[in-house]
Amino acid sequence: MIHFDNVTKVYANQNRPALDHVSVDVEKGEFVFLVGPSGSGKSTFLRLVLKEERPNAGTIHVAGKDLSRLSNFKVPHLRRRIGCVFQDFRLLPKKNVYENVAFALEVIGKPRRFIRKVVPEVIELVGLEGKAHRMPEELSGGEQQRVAMARAFVNRPMILLADEPTGNIDPATSIGIMKVLDRINRTGTTVLMATHDAAIVDSMRKRVVELEDGKIVRDQSRGVYGQAY
């Protein structure tokens, strides 16, 4: 589903590469944790999958497509098949829960009847039934992140990228977030999650890819966060 082959990324005005000859394969339906210290290149990895950034060397395949051959014109179609969740939720403050989720479908031109059918389903999947008409400011951090996950998943993407989704959330609430991610993963969606949260990684027992200074130093199925941190 995601194939990195010798990928190197050096940002402009930066002499140290953010990713240094990274090769990794993620298969369909996998759940992968991306761990490593701050600045090790986790977010850069996720941005490369979205084609928000281009690699300086190496090739990236996502869903069978070589990203370097994908024209700018087709990038939006790639992104429709990838959902994204971030540490800072990125909700629209003037829209309620339902409207925030529906927005993702409206702007890609889905018919209204379809939107009215699937949005309530997804809101229920993330555990927010009954809160569809709340505004983001009336929700807790954990609930806001559920809205963000509902928006990321409402178009049934093949891949879900999560960049420290529990970074702003207390440990107890984080467990609920992880349950939702697990539920999404069980529908066949490949999940790639960058995190600093050792307890979560240890409890989930999923594949762990560890980055350090842009290099992969560990790739372990059913792994733990590691002792060093």
Partner: protein, 299 residues
Amino acid sequence: MRANFIFSEVWIGLRRNLTMTIAVIVTVAVGMALLGIGLMINSQVSTMTNYWTDKVELSVFLCQKDSAFETCKGKPTLNQTQKTQLQQTIEGLPEVAQVEYEDQKAAYENFKEQPNNKVFLTVIQASDLPDSFRVKLKDPDNSQAVVNALSGQAGIANIVNQREILDTYFGFLGKLQWMALGVAIIMVIAATLLIANTVRLSAYNRRRETGIMRLVGASNLYIQLPFVMEGVIAGLIGGVCAAVLLIITKILIFDGIQSYMAQPLGWDTLAGVITFTMVVGVVICILASFVTLRRYLRV
């Protein structure tokens, strides 16, 4: 594509930047009105040139009793045979197409017919107007040869080339036209900069929405359209204001000139000018928006 979504975005954007929107509308309106006025003068000058080219003539005024002209001082006025002789001389010149004699009575009648001479009629009598020959030329550009040939002739008070009068007038209109076009260009540049600024502000105000749109895979066109539409709508409103200004200008100024210059500026010409300025205004708005968006809305 969902039209009501885009229109609500456009409406929000226009209202959020109300002052900038008004600035854009005013500059577009003034710029396009001046461009239109330049074009109207241009079309007026060319229709008038066509109208007058085959009508201009030389007026050869003859000396009369107590004439103030230097060339007539101390000389007797021409008698009938001398006048006939002079007419034959003029007709004999190779550049001349036709000569007509206009005596005092006829001159007075002609004078009376022109509407803007009414004030003078109270003080002027037929005897105040000199006899003259109205000389039509084969080629209106070639008047100097005739003037030269006649300048030594006795009994001629002076020679007036109507074309010189018209040239002064056309020259004035020409300058007016270039001034209008020059200011129009400056206004167009100002409008472009203002639109660029408005779009940049809108893009900044809505960076959250556009960021999410990009993330969930909205097409570039879909993301950019509300911004471009903002520019287009401001441009269109400006264009309508310009059209109103142009209509007022036609009625108040051009229709006023018309009574002197015989050829009216038609509504069809005005419609053409308005359409052209509208298209120019909207195209400028679209281009300015797109160019700015490419810089401030990363895709």
